[in-house]
Symmetry: C3
Subunit: 256 residues, 3 copies
């Protein structure tokens, strides 16, 4: 893919975001992308190929936002990007309608593809050349038909329970074994020190400010702005045998 | 190696092909190189250091073809490149004579090396500086003596059997656990849907067009142009406990 | 981190040294850095973020030497760099005083940081922007207060024993499973062939020149200039169940 891109745009700066997303893990790739894209220079082209449906009916798409371009299969790998531009809350997953503003295109114009196209490696034959041409200024509309709906995965959200607690979920396990939840800093009560976090039969009292602040399991608002469960100098995922989707509950002595 | 290369050619664009070839796996590196080199810009310098014999009598070589330069130990890691320029079929392995055209040089001129040369890391002290100087336009002949033979690994080939079937082999296991065989698309009978693929006691009826088209084990012509055995949303290598060299047989109801 | 750096210095050449240091392995990162930094172009900015104490009281520092800049947490990850500039032998670890010459600065000036700073990812919000601004020519003194002491890990040294033998230690296990010791080439007796190396109940007679020279376990002076224990076509670490800190003894028939 990099060779193909450099044939088209020899001056491109290529940056690898991540090569450790497990095969077929669309949700994992979507999360990683959500945590990094906004730190890149304006108008960066983000190319994502976690694409188990390559060659099947799944669409290939370009999404141009105010700040960046995304080139990817329309399989949910852009879920957290699309979420910001969804006309309705997209929690249930499936195709969601976009608000006016972002430009979305289904990649259908073969002019910019390698030929012949392998049915098993669109990354090399479609996505890489499209991304390279985009980086040279070819407008999205030249690559295919405009679309108004894009696909998102079902996205968990923390729920306020009748007893005042907050029922959240693990969204991602990072390479350190930290468990990143769907609970954002703003979801937490203002008197955070009084918070209790329950996960996998364990109870964590209060929030820590850093990974190194307390012994054992700790809860911390991480660099993605979400609550994380970590184990000092260890892997919380291994210690708790935890995985994405697992429950995390926040309660508070003072109801909030 | 990258630091050394950038000292010599600060403007070089460095691209990592692969860092997951297992130690000493010359055949694996040779295969990976064969699937990617032609997608890079013309005159790319391909530097390969899977080099268990570093510091021993094995030669270091440059191979300049019509489109690219290769810098590597002469241990078979360039087998699939050399195969195209071999005067005789090189299946048995060993040194093979080249046809006229490509320029091959044994790297013997220390002028372009770092000094002193570590006997255990020619990548840093010989290959990287040679590749960097090549990229700046130093002609291959300046690096050493011309040679007319280069080393290839024994390369398996599918064999036509008396009953009309085709007896092939697994050549490579990719990072998804797909089993890439030595059977090329052109080796398959024209009525591919009637094909049966036998591997490890399993039988696969017909070819799929994509990894996502069928449930369970499937056979597909992959992006390298070779037949692959894959497991939908899984690893065929793990499922079959398969490894390079294992037998794969193609039969067909209509003899062909 | 790369996105942040490119926002500040779009022309930067970014090179990954290593992404396989285990979490929290400060000593491993320190060793890897020690083996590569001097091969990069003069005035390269080396950015190291193995930082289990992120957000705690540990300092963030810049060390400018005659040839390069280092940006890192002051947690020992620069031990082998600092060792060269230590006023006293720094074997015991802790903060050591620097000789005059190198410029050391505690990073305290928020002007060059991203805002807000995440307490769990200074790599993104402090180290990357500081390194990028350094690469553009901002002088170290602009980033904070000068300091005269920096932190090193306890560093093992081989010891001469009463019987004339040399008692060394494994310092690092590389990705091939080679065991790199703290015994340098100059520590070895001049009649190296007569040397016996003892490790984990095994005895190796004589030194090899290359990894491929002898069968089984072998001892070789590697590309870092230190004695290594290797297993031909295998992993000495797995074979010996060896780890950093383990004892390696050199003896010699002729006392030396």
């Amino acid at each position: 893919m990099k060779g193909v891109a450099l044939c088209i745009n020899p001056g491109a700066t290529l940056v690898d975001i991540c090569h450790t997303v497990p095969p077929q893990d669309i949700a994992g790739a979507a999360f990683v992308l959500s945590t990094v894209h906004e730190y890149f220079p304006a108008r960066t082209v983000h190319l994502v190929v976690v694409d188990p449906g390559v060659g099947t009916g799944r669409r290939a798409v370009i999404l141009r936002t105010a700040t960046a371009d995304f080139v990817a299969p329309d399989n949910g790998v852009l879920s957290y990007i699309i979420e910001r531009y969804a006309a309705e809350p997209p929690e249930a997953g499936g195709r969601v309608e976009l608000v006016p503003g972002p430009e979305a295109v289904a990649i259908t114009e073969p002019k910019y593809w390698r030929a012949p196209v392998s049915a098993t490696f669109h990354g090399r034959d479609i996505f890489a050349p499209v991304a390279a041409h985009l980086s040279l200024g070819v407008p999205p509309a030249d690559f295919g038909e405009p679309v108004t709906e894009l696909t998102v995965l079902p996205l968990t959200r923390p729920q306020r329970m009748p007893d005042g607690s907050l029922a959240g979920h693990i969204r991602h396990v990072d390479t350190f074994g930290n468990l990143i939840t769907d609970i954002r800093e703003g979801d937490l009560p203002p008197q955070s020190p009084a918070v209790t976090v329950e996960i996998g039969g364990h109870s964590i009292s209060g929030l820590s400010r850093t990974y190194g602040a307390d012994e054992g399991l700790l809860a911390v608002v991480g660099s993605s702005g979400c609550l994380e469960i970590a184990l000092r100098d260890g892997s919380a995922a291994d210690f708790l045998s935890a995985a994405p989707g697992d429950a995390v509950t926040i309660s508070c002595i003072a109801s909030y």
